[in-house]
């Protein structure tokens, strides 16, 4: 049993971390809340005045907000869909007896370690350039008209880049889960004459339900705040076509210097993320019991 002395020690070891995280969480958030009630522009210092909920009304009724909310949802949804729908067959393939599997796995996981600014710029220039990019050349080889990616389908281009970055994560997690699947169970099903398809539907897929949930929740948290990929490729444009919530708040804060409405937007982003976090914390928390 823990003595009073060790209890005291344990508490004092925990205090620095808890204290720092508490300050880190509460001070900026309190300031954001405070700024969100002010008319506060960095271009016009000294003119700060209390405006109540005016910034929220401005931010939420701004057409840019609805456009960027829609872009955010499309971006998150498409990347989730792509990474999971491609990740499952890829993980199943890598779970097969493959010669040189470790090397293939290294190739598959590699994009996850590439910094976002590098992947975005390499895709934008070397691959997606409408004249000299590799995709344009491939299109010409097979007799198609090259796509001007960032002008014709800007949001889809960003989605492709981000999906490429996150496909390895989904694949690796699903593969890890597949490898922990009880082989005997599958063998027994095969002996009983189950087809490969029904083995997949009735044994493999239920086993993957939990890792898929984890992939969805963790990717969502990161995808809600995609920033660098937009920053270096489109700058949110053309128009508002690739502006997501994160980029909208950034541009209000550091391009238009409107501290008040950027703060209101920041709080909206926090609320959206908290809805997601609520579910993640519950699932991970359940795992903690085990």
């Amino acid at each position: 049993m823990a003595t009073r002395q060790t209890q005291f020690l344990a508490r004092s070891l925990l205090t620095p971390a808890v204290g720092l995280l508490f300050i880190w969480m509460i001070v900026p958030l309190a300031l954001t809340l405070y700024f969100s009630t002010l008319h506060y522009s960095l271009l016009d210092p000294g003119s700060e005045s209390f405006v109540g909920l005016e910034n929220f009304r401005y931010f939420l009724t701004d057409p840019a907000f609805l456009a960027s909310l829609q872009n955010t949802l499309v971006l998150v949804g498409s990347v989730l869909g792509l990474t999971i729908l491609l990740g499952i067959p890829l993980a199943l393939l890598l779970d097969q007896p493959v010669i040189g599997r470790n090397f293939v796995r290294l190739m598959v996981i590699a994009p996850f370690f590439v910094m976002p600014t590098v992947s975005a710029l390499v895709w934008k220039n070397l691959l997606m350039h409408p004249v000299s990019g590799l995709f344009a050349w491939l299109a010409k080889v097979v007799g198609l008209t090259p796509v001007d990616w960032f002008n014709d389908v800007p949001l889809f281009s960003v989605i492709l880049i981000v999906a490429w970055q996150w496909l390895p994560f989904a694949t690796l997690i699903l593969l890890t889960a597949l490898q922990s699947l009880d082989e005997e169970q599958k063998e027994a099903a095969e002996m009983d004459g189950a087809s490969a398809v029904s083995t997949f539907i009735y044994i493999t897929l239920p086993h993957l339900a939990r890792p898929i949930t984890v992939v969805i929740l963790i990717e969502t948290i990161f995808l809600l705040t995609v920033f660098a990929e937009i920053f270096v490729t489109t700058g949110g444009g053309p128009g508002l076509q690739t502006t997501n919530i994160a980029f909208l708040i950034y541009s209000q804060a550091l391009i238009q210097f409107d501290v008040g409405s950027a703060s209101a937007g920041g709080l909206v982003a926090v609320v959206i993320a908290n809805i997601v976090a609520f579910f993640l914390v519950r699932i991970v928390g359940r795992n903690l019991e085990a």
Binding site: A10, F35, V108, V122, N125, V232, L254, G266
Partner: protein, 276 residues
């Protein structure tokens, strides 16, 4: 044990896996190849895949024109510094929660996790203004501090899940033999915790190295790590693909190697222990 694997099945899945693996890896390979081309060849249509004039001049140019080494050093200091400080704060906390849990330990852990859910844009404005007030914009120390706090919850969580797997019996045996807490820590706990510490260190180095929200927003030149430096290629003049590729290859090479070593821990660390 092993399911029967017919030769045909091995051949088909091997070809398939290598094909798709190569496809996913290709953009990185293409970038590395472009870094050894001249600017004209990098831009040329039709592209040359292997039979071009190999040159390393881009690597020299990148260093000469833009002081690549300064930014690489910034990345090392910022990623390394923030990770080490986070470990120093996290080790005692995780140790305490793993070995002297109280009723509130689970709540504290979940609360720590929830701070990671806060989107950085939500606090961009106040952090930017605070940094401006205290002259921390474009400073290494400012970035070390913010990345350290940003990754602290993940560090604590990872360490906690590793520490919890250390068998209690061994600690009790050590205590029975009269070991003090200090000796227990040095001779019993540390050797058993080193694998977990190493993988936590590795994963967080990678996360901090590639972090591209705070680094882009809070640094411009002097303290700019590689993420910000590469971003400066988004508005270039003239032919720049080969130089962009050379700078990018240098920026991702070290972390790619570290990443390949840590892929097992990656799953565990990024899912907070939910998938092992």
């Amino acid at each position: 044990m092993a399911r029967k694997s017919t030769t045909q099945r091995v051949v088909v899945s091997t070809i398939g896996a290598w094909f798709f693996g190569f496809l996913i890896f290709f953009p990185i390979l293409w970038m590395v190849l472009a870094s050894f081309k001249t600017e004209l060849e990098a831009f040329a249509i039709p592209p040359s895949f292997l039979f071009f004039h190999w040159t390393t001049e881009n690597y020299a140019t990148v260093q000469e024109r833009s002081d690549y080494l300064l930014h690489a050093m910034n990345s090392i200091i910022i990623a390394g510094g923030s990770t080490l400080i986070a470990l120093l704060i996290a080790i005692p906390a995780a140790w305490s929660m793993a070995f002297s849990p109280t009723k509130r330990t689970k709540d504290i852990l979940l609360w720590m996790l929830s701070t990671k859910m806060m989107p950085p844009v939500g606090v961009l404005v106040p952090i930017y203004l605070i940094y401006k007030t205290f002259g921390l914009l474009d400073s290494r120390i400012g970035l070390v501090f913010i990345l350290c706090l940003g990754n602290l919850p993940i560090v604590i969580w990872m360490l906690f899940t590793y520490f919890k797997e250390i068998p209690r019996d061994i600690l009790e045996a050590a205590r029975m033999d009269g070991a003090t807490i200090g000796r227990e820590l040095v001779y019993v706990l540390t050797p058993m915790a080193i694998p977990g510490l190493a993988s936590t260190l590795l994963l967080n180095l990678i996360l901090a190295w590639n972090e591209a929200f705070w680094t882009l927003n809070l640094s411009t030149s002097n303290a700019a790590p590689l993420t910000t430096f590469i971003a400066s290629y988004s508005s270039p003049e003239g032919l720049f693909w080969a130089k962009l590729s050379a700078a990018s290859t240098l920026a991702i090479a070290p972390i790619l190697v570290l990443g390949w070593f840590s892929q097992k821990q990656l799953v565990r660390g990024l899912t907070f222990g939910a998938v092992k």
